[in-house]
Structure formats: C-alpha cells, structure tokens
C-alpha cells in the first residue's frame, strides 16, 4: 500500500519535532564549544578544549566521575549477578516477597534518599549514636563518618543501591531467556553446577551483562542529584550544573558537556552492539520448564540472612527519610526526640511546596500525554510500515537514550536562549514562552517526554510485534479504514502496554532530577525535586524535615505508579526496564 500524503506530513512533523528538541540542542552545544568571538566576529577554534585539557580541576572532576561510576557499576554488578542467579535457580520461602522488597530502591531516587541517609550515617548521625550505646560512637573524638571521603562513599552507596535492582531485573530476564537445555546438556556430560556457570551460563550472559553495566555506568557518570546532595562537587555533573547558573559565557561549560557527550555516546553505541550479540545468543529453541533447587538448612539460613541484610540496607534510605519527615527535634541522638505530623501539614499548606507538587503533577501529566501520542505514532510506523526515512526515525528515537539529562538540559539552556530581539525582529512572544529563563515549564515538559520517548516507543513496538498483522488485515478486509482499524482494533489491544508506558513516564517525570535542577530557573516553576533542593539549601531548622516529607509524598506517588503500571501492562517488571 502506498503511503498517503497525510502520513508523510505527520512523519515530517514528528521528525522536525525530534530534530528541534534533540538534534538542535546538541548542535548548539557543539557550536558553543568551538566558536570563539573575537572583535565582533565568530570563528572556529579549539582553544576551549585546550584550556580544558590544561585545567587541573577539570581533570580531577573527570577522573572523579569515572572512578565513582566505575565503583558504582562494580558494586551493582557484584550485588545483582549472584542475586539473579539465586532467584533463577533456587526456591525458598517468600521468594516473591523478597523480590518485591529488593525492588524498593526503585521507588526512591537516590537524590531523595540521600537526604535521610546523611542524617543517619553522618558524623553526628543516628547510627553512630546507636553504636555509641554499645561502644565507640559520638563520644569518641573521632566518630566514624560512614559517608567518609567527603561524601564519596555515600554517593557510591546510594547509586549502587538504586541501580542494582535494575541490573538484577535485566540479568533475571537474560537468564530466563537462555534455553535451560544448554545447562542440562553440560551437566549430563559431567560438569558440576560451578563449572556449568563458569563455562556455559556466564559466557552466554556476558554480552547482556556488559550492556547493562555500561548503561549503569553512563547513568552513574552523569548523575547530578546524588553528588549534589552529598555536597560532592568535583564531578562533571555538578560542574555543569554550576556553569549553567552563571550568566555570561563560560567556555568550560560547553567543553565539559561535549566531553561528557562523547563519552556517553561511545559507551552507548558499544552497549548496543553487545545487546545485539546477546539476542542472537539466546535464541535457543523450545525452552522446557526446569525444577528449582529447594534450599534447606544451612544454605537456606545463609541465603535468608544475606537477603535480610541486603533488604535492610536497601530500605535504609526509605526508613531514614520517613523518620526525618516525622521528627520534631532530632539532634545528636539515635532517634528523634520529638515526633510530629507538622511537616506533612506544611507540605500541603506552604505555598512553596504546594507549587512544587502542582507543577510536578502538571509537567508529568502533560509529558506523559505527549509521549503517548508520539509513542503510538512512532511505534506503529516503525513496527508496521515501510517508508523512506525509516532509519532516520529509528535513529532519532534511540538518540535520547544516549543523551544524559544534564547534556540535554544544558543544550536547551543554550539553544533556546531566545532574546527579545534579534536582527530587528521582535521575538519577545517566543521568548516568554520558550526561553527557560522566562518559562521553564515548556522545556521541562519537552525534556521529560523526549527522554522517556524511547521507552514508550519500545513498549508499543513490543506490543505490536506480539500482535499478528492479520488482526488489522481482517479489519481492513471488512471495509474499515486505517484510522478506524487503529481506533477499534489496535489501540484496545495495546492499551495495557500504552497505559504501562504512560504511567512510567509520569513516574519518571514526577521525580526527575537532572533536567529539573538545571532547567527550572524560576522559583514559580520549580517541580518537586527542585523544591526539595531549595528547601535543603535553607537554614531554617525544619526545612530538612519538610523536604523529607515532600520526598515521602513523592515516594508514595512512585509506588502507586509502579503498581498501576505493572497491573496495566501485565508484564514482568524486568521487561519494563530493558
């Protein structure tokens, strides 16, 4: 069937949209990093990169970010891999409950959890007090700073706790996709369980594991919220954030972002190649059900205590921020001296926090709606249609995955810095609407939806792949046009996937950190995360608690969203995060 002009018009519209909000910001950054203004004229120069290479500070930040990301990736992998293997091979009591508990970090972004963690693990924190009751602690002139290194270990801990469940889900799905017969074939040739893992399972998992680890690395490398909360400023993300706040042209901002962009794009492409290898490797034919080893006695005890410890640590941030939110006075003691619900009342009455909640609700809803419309269109076109420009669309849809939030946000700030006047033409109407310094709302919504778009497209695409084309053909055969078929056949069958994708976009946008911190440049437009950030910057004694209460509210919203998404899409949690 030939494609109609209406289709090409819509396609052009989508491509232009993605071009403006994906490609153009990146080009702006590139342009700013190599153009030097000299005597009113702009010329190409690599001087900024040279200055960057000569700056000791920049190298330190870059290496810090690398080391942090590498450590986080390593810790996450060391947690996720044995866990995935355990859950795939063994059976033990309350297995599903354990799995749900291990997912707890997903409902609390590290940024928010970090608030409470400081209270708990800092020099004068609660843990030290508890220990003080038993032994060394606060009385000791050199109390243990569990977050030692000026927040270095704190950042690693928080990030690892947040990322290992994602890696765990990824690995679990990969393990499940391996034909169990390849393990059995090895065993009946004399290989014991350890050898089977070493020679068969691990090599087959490796491409997928590396791909997942690379993604974790990219996220940890570009994470803004966690180091910001811990006051660990010498990382690339925080440096970029600081540069944005500066008015006037600072070359380091541009070069730093370019360097980050080059690193993440390279790593991302590598991870894609690895994933492609993983997919061919797991086409193993009919998979038969296998019996799980039931754990008893000693192995069971060890497993349960290990899991218990891990869950306790994973739930520490949640516990700490809940505690923080209901504490009246909490200073130099293991538990709050006073308990109060005052902070929650404040959350729902202070204009600052109410604005934050309202804004987040608005931005998240609109971006989810935008994603649904775009996602259905793009997902359907990529799955069902052939057309010129298909590879371009496919590439553009994948591009957001390679662009970290900080890069995109920076690109928006410099790219959409529309002046009131330019070349004699009055652009103030556009400026008031688009320029983030005037109206952050527009670009915040766009950035949320653009960054989540690949996931929604993937959800729609996957749903369509499982749905035979003949269902639509049967409808067309009986006289229904393309749009009617879409409306009456395709969308109802996909509604689970679509709803799941939309709810996850909402959840992501609600507590999104990187774009929100950078782009929300005016207080009236602060979303929840930036409100929390600004509350923490204040000196008033109750601010941290109000921030925590706000965080708890956010956590509950996310929890509800995940539950709804899982029910709606009916898919296993693992597939939602691939």
């Amino acid at each position: 069937m030939k494609n109609s002009w209406r289709f090409y018009l819509a396609l052009a519209g989508v491509i232009v949209f993605l071009g403006i909000f994906l490609v153009y910001p990146v080009l702006s950054i590139m342009q700013g990093s190599v153009l030097v203004e000299e005597a009113g004229e702009k010329r190409f120069s690599l001087i900024f990169f040279q200055l960057f290479a000569e700056s000791g500070l920049m190298w330190r930040c870059l290496s810090n970010s690398f080391v942090l990301a590498a450590a986080t990736t390593l810790v996450s992998t060391c947690l996720a891999l044995p866990l995935a293997q355990l859950f795939a091979r063994c059976d033990f009591p309350a297995k599903r409950l354990w799995q749900a508990l291990l997912m707890a970090p997903l409902i609390l972004p590290p940024f928010v959890g970090a608030i409470g963690i400081q209270q708990l693990l800092g020099r004068f924190g609660a843990i030290n007090h508890l220990l003080g009751l038993v032994g060394p602690g606060v009385e000791n002139p050199h109390p243990v700073d569990w977050l030692g290194g000026g927040g270095f270990w704190g950042v690693i801990a928080m990030q690892s706790l947040h990322f290992f469940p994602i890696l765990f889900l990824n690995l679990s799905t990969a393990l499940e996709n391996i034909n169990p017969a390849v393990h059995e074939a090895a065993r009946c040739l004399g290989a014991g369980p350890a050898r089977v893992f070493r020679t068969v399972t691990f090599p087959l998992l490796l491409p997928g594991l590396l791909a997942g680890a690379l993604i974790v690395f990219i996220w940890a490398f570009t994470d803004l919220g966690t180091p910001e909360i811990f006051g660990f400023h010498h990382v690339v993300a925080v440096q970029i954030f600081d540069r944005v706040k500066e008015t006037g042209f600072n070359p380091f901002g541009y070069t730093l972002v370019m360097v980050v962009l080059l690193v993440t794009v390279a790593l991302f492409l590598w991870s894609r190649r690895l994933l492609a290898r993983q997919d061919y490797v797991t086409h193993g034919g009919a998979a038969s059900a296998q019996e799980l080893t039931r754990l008893r006695r000693a192995p069971l005890c060890v497993t349960v205590s290990g899991l218990g410890l891990l869950v306790a640590v994973a739930l520490l941030p949640h516990a700490s921020i809940i505690l923080q939110s209901v504490s009246g006075r909490w200073f130099m003691s293991a538990l709050p001296q006073e308990w109060t619900a005052e902070h929650y009342r404040e959350v729902f009455s202070l204009p600052q926090t109410l604005t934050g909640l309202k804004n987040s609700l608005l931005y998240a809803s609109v971006s989810a709606l935008l994603d649904v419309v775009l996602g259905i269109a793009i997902g359907y076109w990529l799955a069902r249609k052939e057309f010129t420009g298909k590879t371009v669309l496919d590439a553009l849809t994948v591009l957001p995955l390679a662009l970290p939030g900080i890069v995109l946000a920076f690109g928006y700030v410099v790219g959409f810095n529309i002046p009131s006047q330019w070349g004699g033409v009055d652009f103030s109407w556009l400026k008031d609407f688009v320029n983030p310094r005037e109206n952050p709302a527009f670009l915040l919504i766009i950035s949320y939806s653009v960054r989540r778009l690949p996931y929604v497209v993937r959800a729609v695409h996957a749903g369509l792949q499982q749905m035979s084309v003949s269902l639509e053909e049967a409808s067309r055969n009986l006289g229904a046009g393309a749009f009617t078929t879409l409306r009456r056949i395709v969308l109802p069958l996909l509604k689970g996937n679509i709803l799941g994708g939309a709810v996850l976009t909402f959840a992501f946008a609600f507590l999104e950190v990187s774009d929100s911190l950078i782009l929300a440049m005016k207080e009236d437009f602060y979303p929840v995360t930036k409100t929390i950030w600004s509350l923490l910057g204040r000196i008033e004694p109750g601010s941290a608690s109000v921030a925590s209460a706000l965080g708890v509210v956010g956590m509950l919203v996310l929890l509800t969203c995940f539950y709804v998404a899982q029910r709606a899409s009916g898919r296993r949690a693992g597939e939602m995060f691939r």
Partner: protein, 361 residues
C-alpha cells in the same frame, strides 16, 4: 549397562505425572518411551537423568542405586529436541566438552573428538559456530557430543521432532547405524509411533503417567494390551461384541453386530457373556480374496475413496449390518492397478489371527 526403574512416582500438586512406573532395560537395548503429550515420558527421562527428583521409587544402574546422585555423576549424556548446542563454542569445543570435564590429556581429547565428529560426518565443520549450521547438522553435532565420552547410556528427548520429515527418516537410520557400531543402552522418548516401531528393540507405552504395555514393536502392534495402546499404535475398526463360548481348539466365538465371529482366543481366559471389543486394522482387511477359510467375510459398499498416491483409503459401509450400526469401516487398497470407486461393492476378509481382542471395562 542395565537400567531398572522400581515403582517411580512423581506428582505436581494433585496431578500424578508418574504413577508408579517400573521397568527394566537390558544392556545395549534401544528402548523407547512412547506416548501422547503429557503422558509423563519426558518426566520419566528427566528423572532418569537426574534433573528431577522422584517423590518415591528407585533407579538402579547395573544393580546400583543412583537415585541420590546429581546428573553430572550419572554419566548419561542427553540429546535434546532443541539440540542445546552452546552458541559461544565451536563445533569442536561443543563435542569436546565432556572430555575436557574429565581432564583428559589434550592429545586424547583431540583424537576422540575428531573420531566422534567423523562418525556423524561433521568433522569438516569443526571450526564453525552452531549458528552457522542447519537443524540436521546441529543435531549431528549434539549426537557426537554425547558419543565422544563413550557412554554406556544415552538419553534421547524427541531429538528428531524439530527436523523436517525427509531428514527425520535419514537421521533414524544414522542413529541406528551408530548404535550398531558401538552398542550403548539407549532410552528414547517420542510421541511418534512410527519412529518407535522402526527403531525400537522394545518399547514402553505410557498414558497419564501409567505404563500401558511393554514389548517389542510387533507384539505391541498386533497384540495391544488395551484399547488405548491399540488406538495409539494405529487406526482400528472396532466392533462391540459379547463372548459366547470358548471351544476346545482354542477358538473363541463372539456375537458382533455383523453376525457371529470366530476368533483366536490365545491365552486369555474369557468367560461367556463377557463384553468385549473386537477390531481389525485397515491394513489387515484383504479385499476380494477368495481363498481364506479362517477369515471373517464382510460384504461392504464403498462410501468414499481417498487417493494417497501409494494407496487408496476406503470408507466402507457393511451391507448386512443392522440399521443401528452406524460406524464406517476403513480398509486400504494397495494394488495401484485396481481403481476403486464410491458406490461399488467389495467383500473384505479379515483373518482370525489379525483380529484384536480387548476386554471392555
């Protein structure tokens, strides 16, 4: 190596997947486990391999109990329906795997691996990756992999089911040839009765976790123990009958809807008045042969003819049946020169020895 299963049971919840199965496999036999989907044959194989632990019962190899041993110690390589070749290893490394586990000297590993690959004519492919091979080639490598370790027992889990019909026939012959050269004890699971009949020394027919019959193919086909086995092995024309008397010469008189029949009673003790099913296979009915004295004659009218190339399948209506007899009988015309048409009459003769007797429960 001799295999013995004693009263093996396995249940999942309320479902009894294996319901007290006992059997013996002699050393060097090509033994088949045959039955429809869900009958428990694969479960039984996997219990034998050690991947599933039975709820009760014993597994003995040459008299030694092995039920508590993990799969890697039992030394029974398995050939899988999905081939289960390792995609990250070459054909050579796949085949050599079992030998490497035994930590044999490198020279011996090389020699035996190449020998195993040559036996299946896959030696030229030794450096290839499994993804570059066709289904049949992959299965050959899987067989080499199992044979390289010189096993006493090899297990087969529907290994030919994923191959196309022509290839399946060729592979059956190859497997038998490999077995002839180096006789191992084989336990082979399939749902294809033709496969079982062409390859088995003996077979066990299973249904819903229970053993129905064990015997050589010909015995199971011509003297099925019950209705299930009879119908599983092929089409049967059934008639309900009532036993009248057993004569001194061993023949049995029964009353059928088509009149009185004389059958060979064999060893069965059947009392008068007993309800029975008597039947014959379409291939047992001779068409228009005049000189069989001990055959039952049934004059019929041809209702439909189905031409299959090799033969003609006839759907018949017995001419002298009472009005209440509604069943069609099936017969086969194997003579290509004799073209049958609907509406013609034909008399079929079923030799008494070819008539199956099954006690009605």
């Amino acid at each position: 190596m001799r295999i013995e299963l004693r009263d093996v049971r396995k249940a999942y919840g309320q479902t009894r997947v294996i319901d007290g199965v006992s059997l013996n496999v002699a050393a060097g036999e090509f033994f088949f486990l045959l039955g429809p989907s869900g009958c428990g044959k694969t479960t039984l194989l996997r219990i034998l391999a050690g991947f599933i632990a039975p709820d009760s019962g014993e597994i003995l190899l040459d008299g030694r109990a092995v039920g508590h041993l993990p799969p890697e110690v039992r030394r029974m390589p398995m050939v899988f329906q999905s081939y289960a070749l390792w995609p990250h290893l070459s054909v050579f490394e796949n085949t050599a795997y079992g030998l490497r586990v035994q930590r044999l000297p490198e020279e011996e590993i090389r020699r035996r691996t190449l020998e195993a690959l040559e036996a299946t004519r896959m030696a030229d492919f030794q450096d290839r990756s499994p993804n570059q091979l066709s289904g049949g080639q992959q299965q050959r490598v899987a067989i080499s992999r199992a044979m390289a370790v010189n096993p006493n027992i090899v297990l087969f889990d529907e290994p030919l089911s994923n191959l196309d019909a022509r290839l399946r026939l060729d592979m059956r012959q190859e497997l038998l040839e490999i077995h002839r050269r180096k006789p191992f004890t084989a336990v082979y699971v399939t749902h294809d009765q033709e496969e079982a009949m062409t390859m088995a020394t003996r077979m066990a027919v299973l249904n819903r976790g229970a053993l129905q019959q064990i015997g050589a193919p010909q015995e199971v086909y011509t003297r099925p123990a019950n209705r299930f086995v009879a119908e599983f092995m092929g089409t049967v024309n059934w008639l309900r009958a009532v036993a009248q008397e057993i004569r001194k010469d061993g023949s049995l008189l029964v009353e059928t809807p088509l009149g009185p029949w004389k059958l060979c009673a064999g060893d069965t003790r059947i009392s008068a008045g007993r309800a029975l099913l008597v039947g014959f296979r379409p291939g047992a009915a001779r068409l228009d042969e005049m000189d069989r004295r001990d055959a039952q004659r049934i004059p019929c009218e041809i209702l439909r003819v189905q031409y299959t190339g090799a033969s003609q399948r006839l759907a018949l209506k017995p001419s002298r049946a009472p009005a209440a007899f509604l069943e069609e009988l099936q017969a086969i015309e194997t003579n290509p020169g004799r073209v049958r048409k609907a509406g013609e009459t034909v008399e079929i003769h079923v030799p008494a020895g070819d008539i199956l007797i099954v006690l009605e429960d």
